[in-house]
């Protein structure tokens, strides 16, 4: 099995090694995107562009992209424009202002796939390696939903907002509310972003996670939970989300439900694990509250993520 998985997984790599040299790369077909670009030539100067697009060009000229095009690729500004908007000769020559937009590739009129394909000319690698076929690509999300390249709107990653979460919340509105719960990771304080755990550009892991599983993603910051432990708690080893709601909760430690009920959804051993812990068990109503107050079940079973104590089978040591 191990061998089969390995060979299946390296198939594209083998293709790359053997087939890359004899194939030409997939380039953007500008004419296919906009037939009016048939036979269009490039412009030789940015001057004409400035007549209408001065603000855009001036702000773009200060971006990371402009710097890269100019300094690394040796391209002029107008060539940089054409890398994303196609040849501009016809557009510049068009005398009728109302027809100008139809003579270029405008991001206001092309499809999400076409927009992304333009970006992927350079970016189909590393973090965006698995964009094609990803949940976002299949849902018609394009790069410009989250990024803006014509001006520097954020410190890093060319995010469309200084706060990158806002782009995510445009569609994932429920997560915006969840993040405002009492128990939350430090996203709203700006110490994390959605991209701390997810790769929105595509991932071969579930839920666009950065690592191959939920747990491996959590271990990026919570290395202490990685173990392995002498005594493992099976659902903990398999998936942190069995007990935690990582987007925010109103229960301590972002638990999905209030303990002891969370624990009692699985445990029904004779003795206290199967006991009804109702309101009468609270000290305020005359009960001892042993299994309800404080950390509830974790008052005693405190090593619930796994124990390395030889008497830790019940996670009490």
């Amino acid at each position: 099995m191990f061998r089969a998985i390995f060979f299946l997984a390296i198939a594209p790599v083998a293709l790359l090694v053997f087939a890359e040299p004899i194939h030409a790369g997939p380039k953007v077909d500008w004419e296919k995107i906009n037939p009016s670009l048939k036979g269009a030539t490039s412009s030789s100067s940015i001057t004409g562009c400035l007549d209408c697009h001065e603000d855009y060009i001036k702000s773009f000229a200060r971006t990371k992209h402009a710097l890269y095009f100019k300094k690394t690729l040796g391209k002029s500004l107008v060539q940089s424009c054409e890398d994303c908007h196609g040849p501009t000769g016809t557009h510049a020559a068009e005398p009728d202002f109302d027809k100008k937009q139809s003579t270029t590739v405008s991001f206001k009129t092309i499809t999400p796939q076409q927009k992304s394909q333009i970006c992927l000319q350079c970016h189909e690698k590393q973090i965006t390696l698995h964009w094609k076929g990803s949940v976002h690509e299949m849902a018609n999300v394009s790069c410009d939903k989250c990024h803006y390249v014509m001006a520097r709107k954020s410190k890093r990653q060319l995010s469309i907002n200084e706060d990158s979460k806002k782009a995510c919340f445009t569609c994932h509105a429920d997560k915006r509310a969840r993040m405002l719960r009492s128990a939350h990771m430090p996203l709203r304080e700006g110490k994390m972003s959605c991209a701390s755990c997810h790769n929105p550009h595509g991932s071969l892991a579930p839920n666009l996670l950065k690592a191959e599983t939920t747990n491996q993603t959590c271990y990026i910051c919570h290395q202490e939970k990685r173990g392995p432990m002498l005594w493992e708690h099976a659902p903990v080893r398999e998936d942190c989300n069995n007990c935690h709601d990582s987007h925010g909760s109103n229960h301590l430690s972002m638990l999905k439900w209030k303990p002891p009920y969370l624990c009692q959804a699985c445990h029904s051993n004779a003795g206290h694990p199967d006991s009804l812990n109702d309101g009468s068990g609270l000290p305020a109503f005359g009960g001892a509250g042993t299994f309800i107050v404080g950390k509830s079940c974790l008052n005693c079973h405190s090593r619930i993520h796994g124990s390395n104590h030889p008497s830790g089978a019940r996670f009490m040591r």
């Binding site: 099995m1 790359l16 087939a19 194939h23 790369g25 997939p26 100067s45 300094k71 690394t72 002029s76 189909e124 690698k125 590393q126 698995h130 076929g133 410190k155 569609c171 509105a173 429920d174 915006r176 969840r178 405002l180 719960r181 009492s182 071969l204 599983t213 271990y219 990026i220 290395q223 202490e224 939970k225 173990g227 002498l230 493992e232 099976a234 109103n250 229960h251 439900w257 209030k258 009920y261 009692q264 959804a265 699985c266 051993n269 109702d278 309101g279 009468s280 609270l282 000290p283 109503f285 042993t290 950390k295 509830s296 974790l298 405190s302 390395n308 030889p310 008497s311 019940r314 009490m316």
Partner: protein, 702 residues
């Protein structure tokens, strides 16, 4: 000769032209420093003496602090350097610096602090909270329950901090990219941990934290025109300076120990190699894959079974725990027709737990009689997962796409009540922008998880104890592996009646039905709806508002003893309302900008019970409530083309009702068997006023 002369003249004529072309761009691409620096001061006033207020900022009292941040970039020719800093005057400061040659290499470094204030409503009976040996305060008298203790407490605050330093380099050589990074994370402070003295008495302990994690990454990738390949290596080393925590037990009597010992998170390390690649078979078909192999290891020395035994009794002296992880995914993405997109994915994930199984004596909670109850085998849980995911998306007509999907998830597990489960799920959906100014979408998913072999808890007990029989009620099914029907709906509609107004409605529904579980989770139902509104009455004004309602309902069934007359059902019903609104307006050609934002989150959870004949009269739990208000008003005045003066006022309010801690004096006899460390986090009302100046470099535009 004459032709050569004219050629020379022509070429010379070109030079100014070339220079002009370069100057033309150069004028638009100024070099040097660009960005802004912000400096100011803030004061926090009011009833803010709650750790919840500064949970991740470190502010926990009426105080003043410096506001400092920067957003600076510098470039000259190909050289660049960036410096981004945030919250320099607070304990959650971050500094990011990078430099390099565009398109060649980048060297970067980052420092990041994250405080985590846990609770300041705390008292502890221990003498040296924060140390690994906790002795009871002088004058403390032990007893059989909290009511029999003479408690002597001291003030103590639960808080810890995470400091992260990161250094890395990224480099490009033609089509090759290389990156390498090192991250050091240090975590210091305290958290809480339960310290049981027997099965029914516990002391919540201040748990010291002094941990360091070293994470290294190296990657080499090649990016061709049609295909890309990436090789990566990750190594992580976790070092916990405290392998155990010793405390004097406040409870006496029976076999309760005076000296107790609990294990802490053990040192561990892991490494992983990964190979991923992708290739365009045609312009419309791409195949991609990843293969990862890793090992997680932990080999700490084991502690004795109890404080009154020695390690000589252990079956082995070290944990010798190791898990191999294998992950492989193959993805085929294609657009065989201009209107049809297909994606097919196969994923395999496997853990191979090589930790040796041995029988360990079980001495509960340092029992001084060293009573060994049911020696237990440690169980090295394994899981193998195979998934197939097929999705088809068809662009049928104007702006309208239909989607069909199928997922198969097969899991095999060792030492669980069910060896094998399989889940089939189908998805159908539509997205459309057929109607002008309206975009909408709907998706439904139905998934059915089945047990391949019968649910049988006794086989886990046999593996643990070598004898058949159940410790847990055989009717109980654990929800992560039991049969389940899952229904999901999601829908959204966006309506843009004018270029300046947008309305959005988003709805999500998830229903998990565990109808074959006689005991255990019966159902979980979650739905949320959001209304969004954005309005731009003018170019200078932006207004937005949203409201989200979320309802989470769960029902669980358990049995307090044998027989259905002892059944009890706990119903959880959680309603959460979230409101947000913001308005911003600019005057005087952008020289003055005013903005106001508000958000409110209110959650009420009811836990009610239904019981069998033997348990009548169950009392519902007091409601769990959490309420947050946050308001922010900001005014910015452009003093000069390069200087802004801003003022900001923040109002924050937090209320919580939690029956697990309400009414508790920490370290008191409120609960007879639990000596608590903390009570409910104090509510707070806090006002923060700020004045800050922003100096812009290299720009005069807003």
């Amino acid at each position: 000769m004459k032709r050569r002369f004219y050629t020379m003249i022509f070429l010379l004529m070109l030079i100014p032209g070339l220079s002009w072309a370069q100057d033309e761009d150069a004028a638009l691409m100024p070099e040097g420093l660009l960005g802004d620096v912000t400096l100011g001061g803030a004061g926090v006033f009011g009833d803010s003496d709650s750790f919840k207020f500064g949970e991740y900022t470190g502010i926990n009292d009426d105080t003043g602090y410096i506001i400092g941040s920067s957003n600076l970039t510098y470039n000259r020719d190909s050289y660049f350097m960036n410096l981004f800093t945030d919250d320099l005057g607070l304990d959650n400061r971050s500094i990011y610096w990078e430099t390099g040659i565009t398109g060649s290499y980048t060297v970067y470094a980052e420092y990041n602090q994250i405080p985590h204030l846990l609770n300041n409503n705390t008292l502890t009976p221990f003498n040296q909270p924060g140390s690994t040996t906790l002795t009871l305060n002088p004058g403390f008298v032990r007893g059989g329950s909290t009511t029999a203790l003479t408690i002597v407490n001291r003030d103590f605050e639960l808080q810890n901090e995470r400091d992260t330093g990161l250094f890395g380099i990224k480099s490009t050589f033609g089509k090759f990219n290389f990156d390498m990074s090192y991250k050091r994370t240090e975590r210091d402070g305290t958290q809480s941990i339960g310290g049981p003295s027997d099965g029914f008495r516990s002391t919540i302990l201040p748990d010291p934290i002094d941990q360091v994690a070293h994470d290294m990454h190296a990657g080499l990738s090649h990016s061709g025109d049609r295909g890309q390949i990436e090789l990566s290596f990750d190594y992580s080393l976790f070092n916990n300076k405290f392998d155990s925590l010793i405390w004097e037990g406040p409870f006496d009597g029976g076999n309760r120990a005076l000296i107790n010992l609990i294990a802490r998170d053990p040192d561990n390390h892991s490494w992983k190699v990964g190979l991923s690649g992708a290739y365009h078979l045609t312009n419309t078909t791409r195949i991609s894959s990843v293969f990862q192999y890793g090992i997680m290891e932990q080999n700490e020395s084991l502690l004795p079974f109890s404080t009154s035994t020695t390690t000589a009794l252990l079956p082995r002296l070290k944990a010798d725990a190791q898990i191999q992880t294998i992950h492989g995914t193959l993805n085929l993405s294609s657009r065989p027709l201009p209107k049809l997109a297909l994606n097919l994915r196969y994923r395999h994930y496997q853990t191979i737990n090589d930790t040796p199984i041995q029988s360990f004596a079980y001495i509960a909670t340092d029992d001084t009689a060293n009573t060994v109850s049911a020696p237990t085998n440690n169980l090295p849980y394994d899981m193998t997962q195979n998934q197939v995911d097929a999705t088809a998306s068809y662009y049928a007509f104007k702006g309208t796409t239909f989607k069909l999907g199928y997922k198969f998830d097969h899991r095999k597990r060792d030492f669980r009540s069910v060896d094998e489960t399989k889940e089939n799920a189908i998805t159908a959906g539509v997205r459309s922008s057929y109607f002008k100014n309206v975009s909408l979408g709907y998706k439904v998913t139905l998934g059915v998880r089945e047990e391949v072999d019968p649910y049988d808890e006794s086989k886990v007990n046999f593996a643990r104890f070598g004898t058949p029989g159940n410790l847990t009620n055989p009717l109980m099914k654990r929800y992560d592996i039991s049969e389940r029907e899952q229904m999901k709906h999601s829908a959204h509609i966006n309506f843009t009646p004018t270029a300046r107004t947008t309305y959005g409605v988003y709805y999500n529904f998830v229903y998990d039905d565990y109808d074959t579980s006689q005991l255990g989770l019966q159902l979980s139902r979650r739905h949320d709806v959001t209304f969004d509104w954005t309005f731009l009455p003018s170019d200078a004004t932006t207004i937005n508002a949203y409201y989200t309602f979320e309802n989470i309902v769960t029902e669980q069934l358990n049995q307090d003893g044998a027989g259905s007359a002892n059944n009890w059902i706990a119903n959880h019903d959680n309603d959460a309302h979230t409101v947000g609104a913001g308005v911003s307006h600019q005057y005087a050609e952008g020289r003055v900008k005013l903005s106001a934002d508000y958000w409110f989150s209110d959650s009420v959870e009811e836990i009610t019970f239904a019981t069998g004949a033997n348990l009548v009269g169950a009392l519902d739990m007091p409601k769990l409530k959490t309420r947050n208000h946050n308001a922010r008003f900001t005014g910015r005045y452009r003093w000069s083309p390069n200087v802004d003066i801003s003022m900001r006022y923040l109002y924050q309010k937090f209320d919580i009702d939690d029956f697990a801690t309400d009414g508790f004096s920490p370290g008191s006899s409120t609960a007879p068997n639990v000596l608590t460390l903390f009570g409910t986090l104090p509510d707070f009302d806090a006002h923060t006023a700020m004045v800050f100046f922003t100096y812009r470099v290299g720009t005069v535009k807003n």
